[in-house]
Every structure is written in C-alpha cells, then in structure tokens.
Amino acid sequence: MNNSGGNTEKGLKPSLKEGLVDQLESGLGHLHPVTQVINSAISIFDKLGFVVAEGPEIESEYYNFDALNVAPNHPARDMWDTFWLKQPQGLFARPDSLESGVGLKPDNSRKLLRTHTSPVQIRYMEQNKPPLKIIAPGKTFRYEATDATHEAQFYQLEGLVIGKDVNMSDMKGTLEYFFTQFFNKKTDIRLRPSFFPFVEPGVEIDMSCFRCDGKGLKTSSKEGLVDQGEAGLGCNVCKGTGFIEIMGAGMVHPVVLNNVGINPKEWQGFAFGVGVDRLAMLKYGIDDVRLLYQGDLRLTNQF
C-alpha cells in the first residue's frame, strides 16, 4: 500500500524541504485542499465568463428532484441516497401517490440535504434569463456508509451553460479546457452514454490520465506513488486504461428548461457535475476521502 523500500528516500527529501518545513517557517497557514481545488476551478471558469452561483444546503424535494425531472417513485431516485430532515407534523406537502412534480412548485415540499449541487441550476435559472453560464461549487450529502471512497458529506461543482445554439461540441471543448488547466497538462476527454434525468443526451466523461498521459503505462514516479502491491503493469491512477471516469454531463433536458420557464424551443445548453473531493484525491494522490473531514493539520499543512 504505502511507500516502503528504496524508492521512498528520493521522494521524501524534496517534499520535506519544499513542503512542510519551508512553509511552516514562512509563518503562513494553509488552505484546505478542497478549498484549493474549488478556487482553482473558479479561477479557470471565471476566465471563460462563468458566474459563481450558490444555493442552500437544506433543499426542498422540488428543487433537488422534481424540477430536475427526477420523478417520485421512479427507480432513477435510487441514484441519490438522501438524508431527509425531520419537520413539523403536517408539513409534508405531497401525497406519496402524486405522479409528477413537473410544473408544480409546492411551497411546503419536503426538506432534505441536497444530494447534488444541481438544484442551484434551477434556482439560478428561475432568477436569471438566458444566455447564462454558471458554476455552482458546494457541499452535498448522501445517505451512505462511509469508506475510503465514499463520504456522507462531500463537495460538488456543477456547471451550466445555456444559449441559442450551445451544443455538445461546446461542452467537450469547455471541459477539455478545464481539465487541461486544472491538471496543468494537455487533457483529452471521452464521452460515452450515461443517464441522468436532467440531461439528454446524457454522458459520462472520462479524461485521459494525467499520470501516464493516457497511455495506461506505469510511470516511474518520483513521488513514490507507484503501487507495487497491485503489481499490474498499468498505471495505478487509471488502472491501466488510460482514462479516468471523472464526471457526469449532458445537454440540459428540455423539461428542466420548461420547469423554470425558459422556452426549450429557443434555448439549449449543457450541464456537468464533478466531485471536488475526487478531483482533490486524484490531483494530490490522497487515498482516503475521510481524511478531508477530520480537521487534521497533518493533511492541510501539506498543501
């Protein structure tokens, strides 16, 4: 698992000198890696004219699901394990049998912890007329058991672009630009079919591996990242495939535009959502997502 044996020595010393010690002696503190990732993303998208949008962490079922075309009692709901919040008796807006929330916007929709930052899209589109370009970074929650790659709380960054003729080609270009800037390395992306109720077509985005340049081969990493244990011949970041599964995206579903009062006959665009924690883990080689929420300076002060 960890770096043992001869290859560590070379890795240890430079990071000791350049990292921990120098910075400590400079008297400066450190920003949490998740903050650094979010801020890097904001800087990149700011240059492309994206506005940063925000929304509440306690959301209503309407904004988190219904308006995004995730119908009640539809198996697609299983994609998001949800923390529901206790609320006063009688506040449950919706009989369980209602077929669809589309076009309805109940005042007293059930409250939950947002499972994604996508509801920010809805809130922003209700308040702003197209064309528009936003990113929405923020904290999200999923009701699931925690392990090295899953947390009940984590961060997401949502993006949305709406225009007269914004298409998948623009989506591909924008995301390639982002990853190239973010990983500071020319990055290609690959689109393949996927499904999210709020986009159509929906795609999964894979990016070419920044570690092995998409070749899938093991690199002699000076940081001692090479995983001897798993011993495969391939790159340990992309598991030898040359690609890393990184985000979901797609063309905004017309019913989503319709729900917020934007005429889908005139406007179209794309949306994407990426896990910030995952970006941080990939970029810095952090092996356990839980480390991000321990308040542990042994993590923060490395950055």
Partner: protein
C-alpha cells in the same frame, strides 16, 4: 445484469467477437461494463444497465439487440414451437380488479407435468449468472426472465381453491388491510390496501410482480400447473417492494416498467419449454387466457437532421442519420411535415368526438379538438403538447392575415354544450403562463378559409372541415399560432414497443421527444466523433459572487496570519435540525456552530504539534451552520491553542485571538468584536460591527451577516488565487497511524556554516524515518579571538508508516547523525 457470453452467442448466427470487444462497444455506445470474469469455458459480463434502458436491456435478448445494432451482427431468428392447446380438466378464469395496476395478465393451465431436475443446459445457464436451479418448472420461469426480460410465475394448480365444477379463478386485486401472506422463502408479510396481490377465490397466492406465496408452491409432487405471464404497474411495484422490504429480480424489472407485449412472448416460450422439458404425450395444455384491456398504439416520434446537428454539434447528413436509424432497426419515413398535415386533413373526417380522447389508446378512432391537432402533428414528426391551452403557448403567435396551411386557430366555446373545461393558464408547456381570456377549442387551418377540427357534441360531434367564418365553433376567436417553422424534412420514427424510454409519459417533454431520438442517433454514431469546440477565453467579465469573494478574503487574511483551514463534519450529536434517517446515533443533527468542531480539532492537532513543527496550533473553518430548516448561514470560527506548557497559556491564547480579530477587522473594513455588545476600539469606522461568540481559545462569527454589511465588489482580484498552489506538482504524503519520536540536536559551528548545510546532513543521515526537522533556536557568539560562532538547535521528528518506533531504533539513527556531524568538525553541544 450478468450476461453469459455463451448464452449471448446463441442469439447470433455468426461467432461473436471476443468479450472485451463486446464490452468496449457497449461501454462506448450503450451501457457501462462493470467487469468481465472467466467462469469455466464461459465469460460473465456484468453490464450496468442505465436506468433509462432498464425497460428493454435487463435480459440476454435486450443485450443481444444492442450488440446486434452496435457490431452489425444479425440476430438469429428464434422459432418458438407453437404448442397444440386443448381441453384441460380444470378451466381458468381471470379477474383483474384494478386494470391500472395490472395492464395485462396471461394465465395458462398445463396438466400432467413431471416436476424434476432441469436438463443440464438449463442448469448451466442459470448457474452461469449466479442463479440456483430449483426444479424444471421454476427454472423455466427464471430462465425466461433472464432471457426475455419478462418475469414469470408458476402455481401448483391442485393447491388452488376450485369451485364446484372444478374451475379455478385467479383474481388480481388489492390486498385487504391486515391480510397476510407467507412467501416462498417462509417470510410472513403483512399486506395492506395499497398492495396488489394475486389470489384464488379464498387465499393470497402472490404479491403481484414481487414474490410468490407458499400456498401454491410448485414442488416435486406437483402435476398440474398454472403459468403466469403478466404486466404490473411500475410505480406500485416499486412502492410495494420498498414498503415490505422485498426486492427481487422480478420486482426490479417491473419497477422499471416493461412493455405488456413481453408477456405474450414469455408465455409462448414457457409453454413450449414445459412441453419439451416437463411434458410427455399425455400433458394437456389449456388455451392461454389473456386479459389486455388497454393495448397501446405504436408511438411515433420525429426529428430533423438540423435538430440532430444543432444539439450534437455534428454535421451529419440525411443519409447518415437514415443509416443510423436503419442500424437501430427503427421503422421510419422521411416526410415533409406540410405534406403530412395536408394529407391527413381528409383522413379522419367523421371520426367521433370524445372529450379527453387519448392519443396512445383512442386515436385515430376518437378525437377531441386538441388530440386531433396533436395526433396530426405527431404523424408529421413534431411532438406538441396534448392540451389546447398548452398548444396555444407552444405555437408562435401570428396574425390572421398570415394564416397558412397547418397553422392552429384557437377559440372559446365557453358555455356551449357539455362542460369541457376552459383554461387561462398553461399546464405543461411553460407552466403558469397565462392569457386573459380563456381558451378551450382549436383546429388546423387548411387554407381558403377552411378549418379542420374535432367539433364538440353540442355542434357536430365529430371531425369536420368547416368555413372558419361560418362555424359557431370559432365564433369567439382567441388567436392564431404557427407550429411549422420550416419545411425541413423530418424523420418520422415508429418506436419499437420495448423502447419505453422513447415514448411520451407523465407529462409533455419528459420523454417521447426529438431529444430521445437525438440521443439514440448520437450514441450509435459515437460521441467520440463529436469535435471539441474551444470556448472563448477573452469573454466578458462575469459578475463577482459577493459571498464567494468575502469568504475567500477571510480565508486569505487568516492564512497570511498563520492559520490553517480545517473542514469538520456537518453531522454532530446535538443541534436544531435533525435528520430523519441519521447515518449514526452520534450524527443525528446538523451543526449549529463551528466552535465545537474547532475545539476538537485544536485538541487533536495539539497532540501532533511537534510532528508538524508548530508551537501554536492556529486553525479556522468556514462553513454553513443550521439554525432551523429555513435558516442556514455561513459562519467562521478561529481557534488557537498554545502547544507548549507555559504559564498563563489562556491569556496568551486570548491575546493571539484579539490580535487576529484586529487584523481581520482592518483588512475587511468591518468592526469585529470579541464580546457581545462591547463596542471596542477595533471598529473600522463603518459604524457597523459584528460581534463573535468567544469560547476559550475559539471565536466564531456570523459570516453571512458580515457579508450582508460589506460592500459589493466587481472583481475577485487575487483573493481566489492566493494560497492556491494549483499548478504546483503537489503529492500528498500518507499520514502515519503510529506515534512519532522527538530528538533535539544543538551544534556550535563557525560563522560560515548555514542552517541549510546542517539540515542537509541531518536529513541525509537520518533516512526514511525522519519526517520533520525544524530549526527552533539560533544565536551568534563572537569569541575572544574575534571569530564568529553560531549555535543552531534542531528538532527532529521520527515516525514510521509501519510500526511504533523504539528508542533503540531512533538512537541508532541519531548515532549515525552525530557521527557525521562530528566528522565535519562541528561541535555538538
């Protein structure tokens, strides 16, 4: 869904390419592949079926259809043996009491079967995909589900209650409150009125679409059986499965909705397999009883090449799109929409009016006004809303003098004839859009002053063509709308019955639109062929988000002041907002403050202060806290803990906090105070002040409140980028779980030796286990002879990733370090 490669092969004439090739094609054009595993001489491919493809892909046939499309391989024609049916001793009657929850039910009595072990081929197939073989009859039903996607069930007919004439009734009904069933696996389930069940005249036999009961279990003594091949409504199956906590392969398929057309295929395959596996010359096969109250008409959808390219960003030709649709085996025509409208204008004349006529089930036999308009446009490959009021908002407004063939004319017949509702507000298209005067009727303009419309019962009561100026139906005109914006050719596609993802449901635009077809065309064409169009970098300056700006300004000021940022959990053991389904007993609430988390972090990090080389632990957090369901706000808290033991530690900590608040106040231009109500010297002259809550060495402020007071800003400046090493090649070093050990070393060296020189030797000689080295003391001394000497003191931290280090181990390293330092002629003090 597990797919056996060998099983899949049986669907093709030609040899399949190797499993990885199939996996690659599916991944890039269809569904994701989780894994491929070798099992004996077979390969098991785990396909993660996308939720929208669960209608048609949760079977070997489904995946075979995809493979056939993507790899251009022909599917083998399957001939299901037609079994001779005849009289059985018992007869079967079906009674569906809730047709909405059970759109189709087929039952067949088979008498004289031999229940026994399955033949090897059947056992092998089930075994390959991880299913247990039970007996030949049960195995046949399971096989059919994994083969076709249609769940089946078999009952022992002799265990069912019969009437005096020996006839069996199967009733599909909602359970009675308090009714119970014992399932095949012996679990007792309490039923209620929301649960659909299968029963005979006295007892519950099965929970519809989910699980069979033990009353009519097929066992080795079974001779006569009833086969069920049915369709159950998706939402009800899903709700029931969730409420009783039973999920099965059957419920999974029903809750994703499958076409009732599958039922027929499942039954005929089952009957032929029973004949061949469990039958003999004396086995009697009764006629299949089939109740199928609402058969859906084939769904028609449409798209133009221009629309495809506009969304995908491609330059596909009409021929290319046609080629892809052919690959998909979709039946289609290429039409000029105006021709279709013109052609169909005569076709439905005289069709009776029926208010609320359904397009999927009633048309073209019955129409109301808007269903006629919607139906005709659907045949022209254009999906429009179903309701008159929504069609009004959907079309583009035109004047009367612009009227052309195909335009839609709206009117009000309020007060005339039967009470058809009249509307002012849109329902489905741009919901909530409104018009002053209500609208309830429309028709299609045909030119020459003629209008085609389905006239209400008060007037003609059927589809007619009338003169716009003469007919009372259009006396109160409400406006004119255009649907046909150009005369681009359209592909009018008849959707295959199993592709329910391409059919309209729930509401306009949810599905059944051009976007569904664009996705189909895009995925088969290959998204890898979409060319990236680079965004413009020199775009307009976007609006600055005020809270993002100030949150990061606070962070930046604090990092400059030596504070490090922590993120703690939002879930805590006490607070004001409670999760209905907490992840753990001690994480039931959302935090209402950051102070508690910061205190824990201080305690935790102080223990590691020497490891980190810190004399004071200075941390902060920015995050949301929750006062109520409606009130969440950004808070920030800073905390300081002096690590070393000293007198008046708390006083020193307070001083440091005060100092930090002073810096923050000054740089933010906002008075921050450490005490409620104390107007102190730190007011930055703005007249506004935010007071924090002080608790030991921690202080917390309402940041949202501060942001509200602070002025807007039109640029992030360097606030976002500062302290972000986004382009530095930084790699995290794993945190060790083992304790660290400290050693101090002090040296006395001549003035030309730098701390770096010494540190270099220390680092080199210490080896892997040295994780931190810090210079903590330095002073110069001029000796009597005038030479300058410097004293350096270093603290060395040792730690292993693998074990707890012993004193001896560290001493051994230190001996090596001392030795080398001495070799250099440096004096160790």
């Amino acid at each position: 869904m597990l797919i056996s490669y060998k099983w899949l092969q049986e669907h093709f004439e030609d040899n399949l390419p190797e499993p990885q090739k199939i996996a690659d094609a599916l991944t890039m054009h269809s569904n994701e592949i989780e894994s491929i595993e070798t099992k004996g001489d077979d390969f098991i491919i785990d396909v993660k079926i996308l939720p929208n493809r669960a209608h048609d892909c949760l079977s070997h046939e489904g995946i075979a259809r995809e493979v056939s499309v993507l790899l251009g391989l022909s599917l083998k024609k399957k001939n299901i043996e037609v079994v001779q049916r005849g009289d059985t001793i018992h007869s079967l009657a079906l009674d569906i009491q809730d047709k909405k929850l059970c759109p189709r039910y087929q039952g067949s009595i088979i008498e004289g079967v031999k229940v026994g072990p399955s033949p090897d081929w059947l056992k092998e197939k089930l075994h390959a995909i991880g299913q247990r073989s039970i007996n030949n009859i049960v195995d046949i039903t399971n096989f059919i589900m994994f083969e076709t996607g249609q769940p089946m069930h078999a009952f022992d007919a002799d265990k069912l209650t019969k009437d005096n004439a020996g006839n069996i009734s199967i009733i599909i009904r909602k359970a009675k409150e308090g009714e119970k069933i014992v399932t095949l696996d012996g679990k007792e389930v309490l039923l209620n009125e929301n649960i659909l069940i299968i029963s005979d005249s006295t007892d519950t036999l099965a929970i519809a679409g989910i699980k069979g009961g033990n009353k009519a279990e097929v066992d080795t003594n079974t001779v006569n059986i009833i086969l069920e091949s049915a369709n159950f409504q998706a939402e009800n199956v899903r709700r029931t499965a969730q409420s009783i906590g039973i999920k099965t392969d059957s419920s999974k398929r029903f809750e994703n909705e499958i076409t009732p057309e599958f039922a027929e295929k499942g039954m005929s395959l089952a009957v032929s397999l029973v004949k061949n596996i469990a039958g003999d010359g004396l086995t009697k096969f009764g006629e299949t009883v089939d109740i199928y109250p609402y058969k859906r008409k084939p769904y028609v959808s449409g798209v133009s090449v221009g629309e495809v390219n506009k969304v995908l960003g491609t330059e596909l030709s009409e021929a290319k799109v046609a080629e892809i649709l052919n690959k998909l085996k979709f039946y289609f025509e290429i039409v000029r929409p105006i021709d279709v409208v013109s052609e169909l204008s005569q076709k439905f004349l005289g069709a009776p009016y029926k208010y609320g006529a359904s397009i999927s089930y009633d048309a073209p036999d019955y129409f109301d006004c808007s269903s006629l308009v919607s139906y005709i446009y659907s045949r022209a490959g254009i999906s429009i809303p179903r309701m008159t009021i929504d069609q009004y908002f959907f079309g583009r407004e035109i004047n009367r003098d612009e009227l052309e063939l195909g335009d839609v004319i709206f009117a009000s017949n309020n007060g005339n004839g039967p009470s058809t509702p009249t509307h002012k507000k849109s329902k489905e298209f741009l919901p909530g859009s409104s018009v002053d005067e209500s609208i309830d009727h429309n028709g299609i303009y045909l030119g020459d002053g003629k209008v085609l419309h389905a006239s209400g019962l008060w007037h003609k009561g059927s589809v007619v063509i009338e003169n716009l100026d003469d007919t009372p139906a259009f006396k109160n005109l409400r406006g004119f709308r255009r649907i046909l914006e150009n005369n681009e050719n359209r592909f009018v596609v008849t959707v295959p019955t199993e592709r329910l993802d391409l059919v309209a449901k729930r509401s306009f635009l949810v599905s059944g639109n051009k976007e569904d077809l664009i996705e189909e065309i895009g995925r088969v064409y290959g998204y890898e062929n979409v060319v990236a169009r680079m965004p413009e970098v020199s775009g307009e300056k976007p609006k600055t988000n005020k809270s993002v700006y100030y949150i990061n300004l606070v962070r930046s000021i604090l990092v400059d002041a030596g504070f490090s940022e922590v993120y703690n959990y939002a879930f805590v053991n006490k607070g004001k907002v409670e999760a209905a389904n907490p992840i753990a007993e001690d994480k039931k609430f959302l935090r209402d403050n950051l102070t508690d988390g910061i205190k824990n972090s201080l305690d935790f990090n102080v223990r590691n202060a020497p490891l980190l080389g810190l004399e004071e632990v200075k941390i902060f957090e920015v995050g949301k806290v929750f006062e109520s369901l409606e009130n969440e706000y950004y808070s920030f808290a800073i905390g300081i803990s002096v690590a070393k033991n000293m007198k008046k530690k708390d006083v020193r900590e307070k001083e440091l906090i005060d100092e930090t608040i002073g810096i923050l106040s000054e740089k933010l231009g906002l008075g921050l105070s450490s005490q409620e109500g104390s107007s102190d010297h730190r007011k930055a002259g703005l007249g506004q002040e935010i007071s924090g809550k002080m608790d030991g060495g921690v202080i917390e402020f309402n940041l949202s409140e501060a942001i509200n007071i602070l002025p807007d800003t039109d640029t992030y400046g360097d606030v976002i980028a500062s302290h972000c090493d986004s382009h530095k090649e930084m790699v995290y070093r794993k945190i060790s779980q083992y304790p660290f050990m400290l050693r101090d070393v002090a040296l006395f060296v001549s003035g030309d030796i730098s701390a770096d020189d010494i540190e270099e030797v220390i680092v080199r000689e210490s080896g892997d286990l040295l994780v931190n080295v810090k210079l903590f003391d330095i002073f110069k001394k001029t000796l009597e002879d005038g030479t300058e000497k410097i004293s350096y003191a270093f603290r060395l931290v040792f730690q292993s990733q693998e074990k707890t280090l012993s004193d001896d181990e560290v001493n051994l390293i230190m001996d090596k370090v001392y030795g080398e330092l001495k070799n250099r002629g440096w004096e160790i003090r």
